[in-house]
């Protein structure tokens, strides 16, 4: 590209933030509503229970399998195709007797010509622990990030980025709740990765906002923030696109087990990109960030003075 052709877009993000506020409010309200009414469709990692995936040489007959299981007293078994009609997934809610032996019994019932692809049994106690640990992990990740950002920037930035993260997590969870996608351990991991990713995006914008506060004579925070958003826009889009590309590859080619994981990341990256442009910066603007807040400490000042 030639030197002159470079032009930074001048989109008025800040001026239009009222629409973003409305959109985010609607999405969050919808998510919280769905999470309260529907809850999450928790996988056996959290509820405990038994899951068996078997493969047949030919197309499997679901009703036949259901009858076989029902005849032996497994009435609560949920039987469905998984991936193709040659594979079925059998799920058992934690029953009064929940033990690793249930799967053995079921496998015997299905006969010898099936290929046992996967058996998962999670005892009720383990499920409870995983749920607690998962919640704690999310909390600790948020706290760790809050501290780092407050230390590197300023408390308002920390609050801005945390608001964006909570925004992203709630909406992603809301999506899983609304569409009743299963929420298992891998989805939890994906949501924690979304926290990392979305923050990555937010930090890049914040870095630029800080830099612009220090390097220009503008004092209008709205203008400075808008400038920073525009300057980082092409990077934001590029990185989101490359990440979305690989996630699409994972979603379509990674197989059934990784499906929920890829889906959570796809949604999270989309929401995270949006939130780093609209949510995080709106929060710091609303909290009244000014040039004075950005005045560097003595050491940093020297560094800036020596810049060409």
């Amino acid at each position: 590209m030639s030197l002159k052709a470079l032009n930074i877009p001048t989109i008025d993000f800040v001026g239009k933030r009222i629409y973003a506020v409305i959109l985010s409010t609607i999405l969050i309200a919808l998510s919280i509503f769905s999470l309260t009414i529907n809850g999450l469709k928790l996988g056996i990692d959290f509820t405990g229970g038994t899951l068996i995936e078997v493969g047949y040489q030919h197309s499997a007959d679901l009703s036949e399998v259901r009858t076989t299981l029902a005849e032996s007293g497994f009435n609560g078994a949920n039987v469905q195709y998984f991936g193709s009609t040659n594979e079925i997934l059998i799920r058992l809610e934690p029953q009064t007797i929940s033990s690793a032996k249930l799967s053995t019994k079921i496998i015997r019932l299905l006969g010898d010509d099936v290929d046992i692809r996967r058996v998962e049994f999670v005892g009720p106690k383990v499920g409870e622990e995983l749920t607690n640990d998962g919640g704690l992990a999310m909390l600790y990740a948020l706290i760790g990030i809050l501290i780092y950002v407050a230390f590197r920037f300023e408390y308002r930035f920390a609050l801005g980025s945390i608001s964006a993260l909570i925004h992203d997590v709630i909406i992603t969870l809301g999506f899983f709740s609304l569409f009743e996608f299963e929420f298992d351990l891998t989805v939890l991991a994906a949501i924690l990765a979304v926290i990392g990713y979305s923050l990555n995006d937010t930090i890049v914008v914040f870095d630029r906002i800080r830099e612009n506060f220090l390097s220009t004579r503008h004092v209008d925070p709205a203008k400075i923030i808008n400038g920073a958003l525009n300057q980082t826009l092409s990077r934001t889009i590029m990185t989101s696109l490359t990440t979305l590309l690989v996630l699409l590859a994972l979603f379509f080619l990674g197989g059934e087990i990784i499906h929920g994981f890829a889906m959570a990341l796809l949604i999270g990256v989309l929401i995270g990109t949006y939130s780093s442009v609209y949510v995080a910066s709106s929060v710091i603007l609303a909290m009244g960030i000014t040039k004075e807040d950005m005045l560097p400490s003595e050491k940093e000042k020297q560094e800036i003075d020596t810049r060409p």
């Binding site: 470079l6 009064t96 032996k101 600790y140 991991a189 990077r235 990185t239 590309l245 379509f252 990784i258």
Partner: protein, 617 residues
């Protein structure tokens, strides 16, 4: 301007070469192999190697190679059929002091493995296998140490005839002393002789009741001992099953993780691992009628009522002749007369003596074999988790003693050959000191493992190529440089994973895929910054330098926050989440190196120190 020193360039090249070298072992496939290792702690030696060779040669089984690797002998085979038959033959001929197992051995050239080159270790979800989380029933441990203390206390106080009665009350023992003086001397004795016990209350001086508990340290000791002993027993059982590279580890204070790669018959593995089975040999009480005992609801003194598996009752003497503890050897077989499954038992010297005495004295009496199994199951009752303990005691056989015997004999009356095999295995491996319960199981069949690898690799490749195309289109020459950096990043991730021998799982592959998408971010940041600088700065060289410098801090900040999330994932996550966190963390760190330093070095080589009119970005 924009030139690295020769030293810096050499260092970068050195690191990259090193990475390539240690990533290399993953290129070579793996061989079907049979591994032979010593049971217990012993290591195999040269002579074992020769023995294996001789056995295979005798059987005319062709093999690719046989070598001594670490503590095991590895025999590699061309095909599945010879591998399987070799395993059977070796298992039989090498005897019980060796563990024979199927394995996949990476076929890395010797020069590479001598440099420490190893292939990545694949998780159970990629190679197939079983993961169990077992919980030891610690309440049972507490109960049995209370029993032990009860006996010790009784013996101690009985010598001086100090007590009227001793009762178990919950987790404590309630002693009723004869006199206040007896109480004083009794408590003194307990203090000096039984240090594990704790006197809980001595409220009234004239009160003759004292409750006594087990000290916390003694209880903790008993629990940790039970856990360790169970781990040893499980290890023996796994060795009996013949599994290559099993993992048996303590997790927390009362749990044990068992991972068995490549195990196909998971039902058997479950039966074997969880079983708390032992045998008791008792004489039959011929004088009394079991029916009377059933009707009166109480067995005659010195006898106890037992049932056969089919429900027939029988009275057995309470005195035990020998138990599973006395068994040193057990092998399943078939009775030559009626083709019934049976187990050949060998007893230790104490058991042998007791058996000899009994069979001499009670010739033509009947002796019964009682099969005892302790089970524990967690049950959901009214929304609460309750542990259900049950003990089954079945007579599997009651036969007339036809002649005297001591340490070697057979037991029959077993339902099936499978049960005979399992029973003999359990008796050999020793019993568990406390019942255990499987509280989590994750089994991945071999076919799904293979699918997972194929799909995982496919999505890495496709995602990677898409990003390559996208970057090249958008940033031209700089894009190609970023692509080289990205490729090197993949190589480095593989090298670090191989060197650390961190386990690669399917979520781990997802972590790599995500890293591929995110790793270019650093380059995107730099390139966009260079573009901006080109707008305001007329000197192209300065613009490139400023682009790298100014983007630097942003990249570091952004990556550190992602790293925080990854580390939290690592410390909180179990299995699948940990795998994801590992590759994500490694990917973040290596991408900083490749995207900032390596890409800069290449850009410098292309553009550095030249007078430029235009660059292709």
């Amino acid at each position: 301007m924009n030139q690295f020193s020769a030293l810096k360039n050499t260092l970068i090249a050195f690191f990259l070469l090193l990475s390539a070298l240690y990533a290399l072992p993953n290129v070579f496939g793996s061989d079907l192999a049979v591994q032979i290792s010593a049971a217990g702690d012993a290591a195999v030696v040269e002579s074992d190697l020769d023995k294996v060779k001789t056995i295979l040669d005798e059987q005319k089984l062709s093999y690719k190679s046989i070598e001594l690797v670490g503590r095991r002998v590895l025999a590699r085979f061309e095909d599945n059929k010879s591998q399987l038959s070799a395993k059977e033959v070796l298992k039989q001929k090498m005897g019980r002091n060796y563990v024979t197992a199927l394995n996949l051995a990476p076929s890395i050239p010797s020069w590479l493995s001598s440099l420490g080159g190893k292939a990545m270790s694949l998780g159970l979800d990629l190679r197939g296998g079983v993961h169990f989380l077992l919980e030891v029933d610690m309440q049972a441990v507490a109960n049995s140490s209370l029993d032990k203390s009860y006996n010790e206390l009784r013996t101690l106080l009985r010598q001086e005839r100090l007590y009227k009665s001793i009762k178990k009350e919950g987790d404590t023992l309630l002693v009723h002393f004869k006199t206040p003086a007896a109480k004083v001397s009794g408590l003194g004795l307990i203090k000096s002789e039984l240090s594990d016990l704790l006197v809980l209350d001595v409220a009234h001086k004239d009160d003759l009741f004292v409750s006594i508990g087990i000290s916390d340290s003694a209880l903790a000791e008993a629990k940790s001992h039970a856990l360790k002993q169970n781990i040893t027993t499980l290890r023996n059982r796994v060795n009996e099953l013949g599994v290559a590279e099993p993992i048996i580890q303590q997790q927390g204070l009362e749990r044990i993780v068992v991972q068995l790669p490549g195990v196909q018959d998971t039902a058997r593995a479950k039966e074997i691992l969880g079983a708390v089975a032992t045998l008791e040999f008792r004489l039959v009480d011929e004088k009394n009628d079991p029916q009377t005992a059933i009707q009166s609801g109480r067995a005659p003194i010195g006898s106890k009522l037992y049932y056969f598996r089919d429900g027939r009752p029988l009275l057995l003497k309470t005195r035990v002749i020998a138990t599973g503890e006395n068994i040193t050897g057990a092998a399943s077989g078939v009775d030559s007369e009626n083709a019934a499954p049976m187990v050949n038992i060998t007893l230790d010297s104490a058991g042998g003596r007791a058996m000899l005495d009994t069979t001499k004295r009670y010739l033509h009496h009947r002796m019964a074999v009682v099969f005892i199994e302790n089970k524990v199951e967690t049950v959901l009752e009214n929304g609460k988790l309750v542990k259900n303990r049950s003990k089954t005691q079945d007579i599997i056989n009651a036969a007339t003693i036809q002649g005297t015997f001591s340490s070697r004999f057979q037991i029959t009356g077993i339902d099936s050959a499978r049960e005979a095999r399992n029973l003999s295995l359990l008796l050999r491996a020793g019993s568990l000191s406390a019942p255990i319960e499987i509280i989590e199981e994750r089994t991945i069949g071999p076919s799904l493992g293979a699918d997972n690898i194929a799909q995982g690799v496919m999505s890495v490749i496709v995602g990677f190529i898409l990003v390559l195309i996208f970057m090249a289109l958008r940033y031209r020459v700089f894009g190609l440089v970023a692509n080289i950096a990205l490729t090197l990043n993949l190589v480095m991730i593989v090298a670090v994973l191989s060197l650390l021998q961190a386990t690669l799982t399917l979520p781990g592959i997802a972590g790599i895929v995500l890293t591929v998408g995110m790793a270019v971010d650093a380059n995107v940041l730099v390139f966009e910054r260079i573009k901006e600088e080109l707008g305001s700065n007329s000197n192209i060289q300065k613009a490139i330098a400023a682009g790298y410098d100014k983007a630097m801090l942003t990249i570091a900040d952004a990556n550190i926050t992602t790293l925080i999330a990854a580390l939290v994932l690592f410390s909180f996550g179990t299995g699948p989440i940990k795998g994801f966190a590992i590759t994500l963390s490694i990917g973040i760190v290596t991408s900083m190196f490749t995207a900032i330093i390596v890409s800069r070095a290449i850009i410098n080589k292309i553009y550095g120190g030249k007078k430029l009119e235009e660059i292709s970005i």
